[in-house]
Symmetry: C2
Subunit: 454 residues, 2 copies
């Protein structure tokens, strides 16, 4: 729903609430999709949320709470009577209910679990972090046996009346619960009633371990084009199912996190979140970059006497380092994203160096000569023009080297390359940019003096 | 499959090919998942690919070709006999077949379509760009009518024997083809045989227009937690269905594209793609940034006499601009990503300015005073220390202003904010950083001289 329509609906709800017409407000909300309902409810004051919730059905409330941001859902949950909360949690998908329970105080979570009817579905999920396969999965409610016929499987399905999207792929297990195969619900429906599950199942089933990172789950599901992914424990027993819709959000969240980390925003800064988070999550990287900048300017400091002898060098100082930084962030981004998508790792990463060196040599030469020419035309100073050209080519090569090796090195020591690569690579291209430019200019000036003296 | 296992399997296939044991090579490949098959085939020489393809079943070949990169699939398609190609395209999902046909020469595409049996499914899709709902969808093969009972619907489903995952949601249309509702296959299976579709369908169905951008499709599906999304034409007729697994890839591809664009890599550079693409796709932005760097250094050039009078200024030149650039890219990234995810637009974007200004003031003050103190301790130059502190606070505010307004402005004039924001924002923080620092230092020095003279 777009922002303008949303504002309109919100105004209707607010009007109804001002008139104490809770039923009217509830009716407006019930006509919306859960995701829109959640957005709307999040805009209301706490007291209004609680009042409204008493006028909505638990199933609707469960849908709304599933769609709310985790923190918001937990805040609301704390305001509700425990019996109502338990009723809502019973109606939620087990993985979502576990997320809400995980965000509550341990006392309240325990009280709610005691009142819940479906506590046994949710309890096992509380063990797993939100961002792992275990935290994303819904317990598998229907499993088939190889010996069953299609008819019997459909009967079992009707009996179980599974509530979730997770039944579009039906997983086949043995008596120990070990995952043996998968049958699409569609195949089961169109099969002749006497076909055995063994005959129609695909035994070559791809699964993820319960501790797998959510990024790995998203990549696996997307790679193989599935709509659901089985989750298994250490001995290959089926413990749950992850559906594709949950993983689109994972792919987007992981990408956002990486993009933020590339510019030094740590943690999950919400675009509409509080100021305090924006300050605290950005400050550490700004401080670290200040340190790398200080390292870089100590090089300039060493050359102060040279600059004093030719002040115009100062004008061109930012060129080599700045452009080296740009080239470095291009390489770094390609490698960091490649690592995140599972395309680049320690085994193949060094193969990237050749290509990146070649690209750096070509781009560095083109940009370096263009810049040198522009400087010569502008200032007529061949020492500076030549120093910039040579320094830029060298700094592009340095940028390629750092842009490949820094992320791979960080990955090898288990630091997230997205978080720390940019600071290191820019620090290196800044420092080396100043060193190459001022060093080469010093040598050229000395050579010019020697030549003039000869 | 991880890289090492893959290398091992590849070695087996190569060995079989060297021995001209095509059947053996095909057997190794047939045991793999399609995505792994595609990766493996892409590693082989063209001639080996064609030879192998004659030993695989068209259905397997279709799976492999669906998983290959679009360009690679088209190159291979051009090498195959047209009759074989048509057979493979018939077995592919319609949207994937359309993508391959769209990448072929018009003559070859026409020849293949003439030989195909399922051409009528694919033809309508050729009209839509790859990155729109129309390009992603599979034509809806099974639609239900409101008056049908569950029993009849299941019979129709068995008759149609639909091939794709797209049937897990069954869409209900009227006789004109207008989309009226949706029924989950699961609900249909567990319903009593006499229930009408009307009674079990959800009439509140969310759809996307055929021309909708793929990013909008991914966001819609993820927001509402569906596994499939109906696509409608201008008059709400159902024309196709998009499944969630295709959209995970979309979410990842769009995020990759935005990350690349943020550092000035245009188009879809493949991490393992050719050198030529890496050079050409990065060079334009490097050139544009060189221009913005030249604009910035003209400011330094104006202050050359001031620097000549106090050479140590040159040492601290990179600090204010560099750190302003870091602060600017943090704000820019939050806004650009917010725009991409549909959380920030022209209506609400200006509300971000207050928060960003406040964060800039706090972070700028902390970093500015810390840096000023460090400089004073290091060099004992209060003019430089104070100039850096004040200039940094001002430049952080400038970074916040540019970081919010530049992406919103680019969006307003229909330029992708991801592509152009960084160059503009860095250009502004570089230029203003030099101006603030050197300007304030000049004023402070003049004030010091005046004070000493008084």
């Amino acid at each position: 729903m777009d922002t303008l329509v949303m504002d309109d609906v919100l105004a209707q709800v607010r009007l109804a609430l001002e008139r104490d017409d809770l039923a009217g407000a509830a009716a407006v909300i019930e006509a919306l999709q859960p995701a829109d309902q959640a957005d709307l409810v999040e805009e209301l004051a706490d007291a209004d949320q609680v009042a409204l919730f008493s006028h909505l059905h638990p199933a609707d409330l469960a849908d709304v709470m599933e769609e709310m941001e985790d923190g918001d859902a937990a805040s609301l949950a704390e305001l509700l009577p425990v019996a109502d909360l338990a009723g809502i949690l019973d109606e939620m998908e087990a993985d979502e209910a576990a997320d809400v329970l995980g965000d509550l105080s341990p006392e309240l979570a325990a009280e709610a679990l005691l009142e819940m009817e479906e506590a046994e579905d949710v309890l096992p999920l509380l063990r797993y972090p939100d961002d792992t396969a275990g935290g994303l999965m819904t317990p598998a409610v229907v499993t088939l046996r190889r010996g069953w016929r299609a008819k019997k499987a459909l009967q079992e399905l009707r009996l179980a009346e599974p509530a979730a999207d997770s039944v579009y792929y039906l997983f086949v297990t043995d008596t120990e619960g070990i995952l043996k195969g998968v049958v699409g619900l569609r195949d089961l429906v169109v099969a002749s009633p006497e076909t055995t599950i063994e005959a129609m199942m695909d035994p070559n089933v791809v699964s993820v371990p319960v501790a797998a990172d959510q990024e790995v789950c998203a990549r696996t599901l997307s790679r193989y084009g599935f709509l659901a992914l089985p989750v298994v424990d250490e001995i290959s027993r089926l413990v749950g199912v992850i559906t594709a819709d949950d993983l689109i959000e994972v792919a987007e969240d992981e990408a956002t996190e990486d993009m933020y980390r590339m510019v030094g925003i740590t943690g999950e800064e919400q675009v509409w979140g509080p100021l305090r988070a924006s300050v605290l999550k950005r400050l550490p990287w700004l401080a670290i970059n200040m340190v790398t900048l200080f390292v870089a300017i100590t090089v300039v400091d060493l050359f102060e006497p040279v600059i004093a002898g030719m002040v115009i060098l100062a004008v061109f100082l930012p060129l080599v380092s700045g452009e080296g930084g740009n080239a470095g962030s291009q390489t770094t981004t390609v490698i960091v994203r490649g690592i995140a998508l599972g395309e680049v790792d320690e085994h193949n990463g060094l193969r990237m160096l050749n290509k990146e060196f070649a690209a750096a040599l070509i781009n560095g030469t083109i940009i370096g000569f263009g810049t040198g020419l522009a400087i010569y035309i502008w200032k007529g100073e061949w020492v500076i023009a030549l120093a910039v050209t040579l320094a830029m080519i060298l700094n592009f090569l340095m940028a390629a080297l750092a842009g490949v090796l820094v992320p791979l090195g960080l990955k090898a020591v288990k630091v997230d390359p997205a978080l720390a690569s940019a600071a290191f690579v820019t620090g290196i291209t800044d420092t080396m940019g100043f060193l190459f430019f001022l060093g080469i200019a010093t040598l050229l000036m000395a050579a010019a003096v020697a030549y003039a003296g000869a």
